[in-house]
């Protein structure tokens, strides 16, 4: 039935496919088109497995469709070919069932080795817990050098770049405020979990991907072999901002890592309260106001008038205006009446020395109370039993 215009349609089609095909392959070699460079042995193993399977697939594909296109050309009616009424050949059919099955074994064997290696998360040098939140990542160093470090990692790309009001930077959408820092050459085990919905943590350079499932802990491992910064993002649809929760890992040398841990630890210590320090009365008052707001306000009220009779007022209270030690003691150990605990509970375990010193100073210098006295953490420490 092939009419002349129809045949010219075929010719045009083939020509168009050739043009597009060549354009694609030209572009492909100039652009990102393959797996990202491997940064670990596991990733390298995955990449060579991929190449091996693609090679097998390509050979089979070219073979099968070589036959088909040969038939399209040689056995076409337009060339006068008459159909041969063959519709069965048991030997051939057995062959093309058995041979693919054998090829599958050739694929399954190397794959199995990589799977087993990939699942072996034992004996890590460093364990980090990754928590997916809508829409940021939380990192906690739970075991190994850096234990105790904890931070949240959020997209650093400004909103203006996303909305097209500013030119986009080179790491557009793949930059964060706090990068995950890991040492080179160490086996890192990552525990994944999530706070709300399912997320997925992926670092292609290390062949590492694991869903983060709320309420469950899963794990993966990687062992970076080169230093540098590696970028990726959440890969499981997790709601509106799914496309905006990047993952950035910076691999540093062991010395740099130790240095970074040291700095982080110092920062943590600096942020912590120093009970040996002597504070000014204003420092103590402003800190004490916050402690009061979280620990005392429910009973004694913001006005300091309390809710008598159960919760006595602090404004004008004899205890608060009396000796420091008595007040500190009642905050530390609570107030007993006839040997039984009252509503005034002990705060020794809930508040540290700085906090107690601050809140006591605050109550002694607020509302109508004007003792002008500052209580230092050392005084609280001395009264702890």
């Amino acid at each position: 039935m092939a009419s002349k215009p129809a045949r010219s349609g075929v010719v045009t089609g083939v020509a168009m496919i050739l043009i597009f095909g060549l354009t694609f392959s030209g572009l492909a070699s100039a652009l990102e088109w393959n797996l990202q460079p491997a940064g670990s042995k596991l990733a390298a193993d995955i990449h060579s497995l991929h190449e091996y399977v693609m090679l097998l697939c390509t050979v089979i594909f070219v073979g099968v469709f070589g036959f088909m296109f040969y038939a399209c050309w040689k056995h076409r009616k337009a060339a006068g070919h008459k159909a041969e009424q063959i519709h069965k050949n048991t030997m051939v059919e057995i062959a093309w069932t058995v041979i693919p099955a054998l090829i599958l074994i050739l694929i399954a064997w190397p794959s199995t080795r990589v799977v087993v290696a990939q699942k072996d998360t034992s004996n890590p040098d460093l364990t980090i817990k990754v928590t997916g939140h809508q829409w940021k990542w939380g990192y906690d160093y739970v075991k190994g050098e850096g234990e105790g470090i904890s931070f949240v990692s959020t997209l650093a790309t400004p909103r203006d770049q996303i909305e097209g009001n500013a030119p986009k930077g080179p790491n557009y959408l793949r930059e964060v405020d706090n990068e995950l820092i890991v040492p080179v050459g160490k086996k890192i085990r990552v525990l994944t979990t999530a706070a709300d919905v399912v997320h997925s943590w992926w670092m292609p350079a290390f062949g590492a991907k694991q869903d983060a499932i709320p309420g469950f802990i899963r794990d993966l491992w990687f062992k970076p072999e080169v230093t540098g910064t590696f970028r990726s993002q959440c890969v499981e649809l997790c709601g509106k901002e799914h496309g905006f929760m990047p993952i950035v890992v910076t691999v540093v040398s062991q010395q740099d890592y130790t240095k970074w841990v040291g700095e982080k630890m110092k920062a943590i210590a600096a942020a912590a309260d120093d009970p040996g320090k002597t504070f000014t009365i204003d420092e103590l008052r402003s800190r004490g106001e916050k402690v009061y707001a979280s620990a005392c306000v429910a009973c004694h009220q913001a006005t300091g008038k309390g809710l008598p009779p159960a919760f006595p007022p602090l404004d004008g209270s004899k205890v608060v205006l009396g000796p420091k030690d008595k007040q500190i003691d009642s905050v530390l150990n609570g107030i007993l009446k006839d040997g039984k605990p009252t509503q005034m509970l002990p705060f020794a375990k809930q508040l540290n020395d700085v906090e107690i010193a601050a809140v006591v100073t605050f109550t002694r210098n607020n509302w109508g109370n004007k003792t002008g006295e500052a209580v230092q953490p050392a005084e609280v420490k001395a009264l702890r039993k």
């Binding site: 056995h75 693919p100 699942k119």
Partner: protein, 532 residues
């Protein structure tokens, strides 16, 4: 059954004057005729194909450039979700049910489907389900933005649109199950004398197996979405760890339905292609029996491979290995099918009319989708590619180049039989080549995007992905326009096409071609042919 036939038992081949007593719109609402219902299914599916297609174009428009241009991320997620649901449940599945309705009775020598009124109801559930899906966009919070897989617990955060979607899925499932029961009963009970199972056209075989898959798989999906509904509203915690549930349980249930679903879509497509290739090769299908066995093998295997969609949820190593081995095994029966199709063409007398072009396009591209499927079945590689554009490319090679190409082949192949008019062959060929080129332009480059690390379902992307996304988006708009061209070709054929000859395709030899006039009368095989 007989009462339906009796009221029209006047025994003539005229068309247009026996439509069940009603005219106009009431004819279509009340019809119990398998041909009318087949037509309804096909038009419905085309309309949904357009609706889902517009959403795909919205997605590709947003992804044309990095940055947020046209749609906020929330709406973008709603488009990806509804594009998937509408294309799978509204476009592809109904299209093949449409073919089943038209073709199965004619191919086995039956006067109609076994349950004619049920058939009507199976269809008329669909427009309401489709409507619910579309209405969900206009509810507070919009349509669900959770992906067509409806993963928990993200589904719990959605608004009332989620509930509409759940009810839509229930309706779609009911429609599929009822339709399947009808198809199974028709094939097993209404075959003409002498039409043994192993003489049935392969299209009928693939539908018989597909119908069993549907009956087995759709209730599982209904269960999954019902649990989602009770988790949302009635305090259950099936998928919430805080109450003793597990979000991964949802994924297991969903994919226990979801993987057979892939073959629910693919098997009827195999069936159409298995009719078209022999017809234009002027040879019987090579290895008919092995085709039937391969189809059955695929169907059985499809129930034990579901967790290959979940390699990254953190399965034990033995679980990963089991599902990897089971999945790679599917390559064997699928390979048998591809080899059989090529062997059917081998030493034939080939012509390349539009149905054959689409069948060859199917064979070529579907095999590529099969190979990327093999790549994805391997756990270590899948860990890299899971939830990237590589997966998007892979399943569009299977769903579009597989199912859609085969549906086009079927329409061009049977349109002359159904309407008595030929389509314009030159335009048909243009439709094929444009579809072929634009399809690859959209999806071939998405393999590169996935390999290079672009996740799926994101409204914005890093700059290094820009070029491929531009090419893909341009291809998408070309592809969309080409399908409007298809609509034009079909309408032109129906309204003013050349009159089809009595045997439009000399190589086609199933009952509808050999035993029925062209165009087929409204009622056929009121007396079953004796094929003994």
């Amino acid at each position: 059954m007989s009462s339906v036939a009796d009221s029209h038992a006047h025994g003539h081949a005229g068309h247009g004057d026996h439509h069940g007593g009603y005219g106009g719109i009431m004819r279509w609402i009340t019809t119990t005729n398998h041909k009318d219902i087949g037509t309804l299914y096909l038009w419905f599916s085309f309309i949904m194909f357009m609706v889902g297609g517009v959403m795909a174009l919205a997605i590709r428009l947003e992804l044309f450039s990095p940055g947020i241009q046209y749609f906020n991320p929330d709406l973008f997620n709603q488009f990806t979700t509804m594009h998937g649901l509408i294309m799978v449940f509204g476009a592809i599945m109904p299209a093949f049910v449409g073919f089943a309705n038209w073709q199965i009775p004619m191919m086995i020598g039956a006067p109609d489907m076994a349950f004619a009124r049920l058939n009507n109801w199976s269809f008329w559930l669909l427009p309401f389900a489709g409507l619910l899906l579309i209405i969900s966009f206009f509810t507070p919070g919009g349509a669900p933005g959770v992906g067509w897989t409806l993963y928990a617990p993200l589904t719990v955060q959605m608004g009332v649109g989620m509930d509409l979607t759940i009810f839509a899925v229930h309706l779609l499932g009911m429609s599929s199950i009822l339709g399947s029961i009808n198809i199974i009963t028709t094939i097993l009970n209404l075959r003409a004398p002498g039409m043994t199972l192993m003489r049935m056209p392969l299209f009928v075989w693939t539908w018989l197996i597909t119908a069993y898959l549907l009956v087995a798989a759709m209730p599982v999906l209904a269960g999954a979405v019902t649990m989602t509904l009770t988790d949302r509203h009635f305090g259950t915690t099936f998928f919430n760890a805080a109450g003793g549930g597990d979000p991964v349980l949802y994924q297991h249930i969903f994919w226990f339905f979801g993987h057979p679903e892939v073959y629910i879509i693919a098997l009827p497509a195999f069936g159409v292609v298995s009719q078209v290739i022999p017809a234009f090769s002027r040879k019987p299908l090579f290895g008919y029996a092995s085709m039937v066995y391969a189809t059955s093998a695929i169907a059985i295997l499809s129930f034990i491979v579901w967790a290959h969609h979940m390699y990254t949820v953190g399965m034990p190593v033995t679980g990963q290995l089991f599902f990897m081995y089971a999945t790679t095994l599917i390559a064997v029966p699928t390979g048998v099918k591809v080899f059989n199709w090529v062997a059917t063409m081998w030493k034939g007398s080939l012509t390349f009319e539009t149905p054959m072009l689409f069948a060859i396009g199917f064979l070529f591209l579907f095999t590529m989708g099969g190979f990327t499927g093999l790549v994805l079945s391997l756990v270590p590689i899948d860990i890299q590619l899971h939830d990237t554009y590589y997966v998007v490319a892979h399943f569009h090679y299977v769903m579009v180049a597989g199912a859609l190409f085969s549906a086009f082949a079927g329409v061009y192949f049977w349109l002359p039989k159904w309407t008595g008019r030929m389509y314009d062959e030159t335009l048909g060929k243009w439709h094929f080549w444009l579809t072929m080129i634009f399809f690859n332009m959209i999806f071939f480059v998405q393999h590169f995007l996935g390999l290079a690390g672009m996740p799926r379902r994101i409204p914005d992307y890093p700059l290094m992905f820009e070029t491929w996304n531009k090419i893909s988006s341009i291809g998408a708009f070309g592809f969309g326009l080409t399908q409007l061209f298809f609509l034009y070709i079909v309408l032109k054929a129906i309204r003013s096409g050349e009159k089809a000859p009595e045997r439009p395709w000399e190589g086609a030899d199933s009952l509808e071609w050999t035993h029925l006039p062209t165009p087929v009368p409204y009622h056929t095989f009121e007396v079953q042919p004796n094929l003994k």
